[in-house]
Amino acid sequence: MLIEIRKKPFNAYAEMQYYLDSLDIAGKFGATANFVGSMRDFNEDKKVTHMTLEHYPGMTEKHLETIAKESIEKWKLLDVLILHRIGKVKVSEDIVLVATWSAHRKDAFESCRAIMEQLKSGAPFWKKEETNSGAKWVEKNTPGF
């Protein structure tokens, strides 16, 4: 299990490969589900140029760790990876990466989506968007279901 808050841009698929190479689970998993959230150049019909992501150092990591551990238990996962950007994020950069490894696909799919929903609803991160009509805190996330 790895949970990291990143100040610098990351490449989601290079991170997937790098983390997978560090594990000793080859041949043990049949399913990997992976979600990448990336920054779009528009939101609610406004052009967004960049945004700033704030977090609560300490609590954010702790909260994500709890989500990951509970998911490993519930879905019998072989591993979980969560990466999340903070700081100034530019259009098309990756914001979040969640990946889960399991024996069968049902567990990988369900856990990956559940982790994302829990992260979206509870992990202490806040986005402030710079749009063509000024800076604005995002008030709430789009529903996931």
């Binding site: 914001i95 979040v96 994302m116 992260l119 202490p124 986005k127 008030e139 996330n141």
Partner: protein
């Protein structure tokens, strides 16, 4: 007793500070602390989320001396 209080994101901007140390009565709830802060700062803020020592708590949670209390708006990560 004293607790340390943190504010994040839009609430930090509304309050005008990120951290403070607040004197409260022994046995105060987190919501009474929040109410006293809103009164003192003369602000209204809906949907505040509350955490004590980096875990979410309900509004009736009873504070202890030295607790780290955090108030923040709905989270928007991911």
């Amino acid at each position: 007793m004293q607790v340390s209080v943190k504010y994040f994101a839009s609430l930090r901007e509304v309050i005008g500070e990120a951290n403070s140390v607040v004197d409260i009565e022994e046995g105060s709830s987190v919501s009474s602390l929040w109410q006293s802060i809103m009164d003192r700062k003369n602000i209204e803020f809906d949907n505040v989320m509350m955490a004590v020592n980096m875990e979410y708590v309900k509004s009736e949670y009873q504070l202890k001396s030295g607790d780290e209390v955090a108030f923040f708006p709905p989270v928007t990560g991911g």
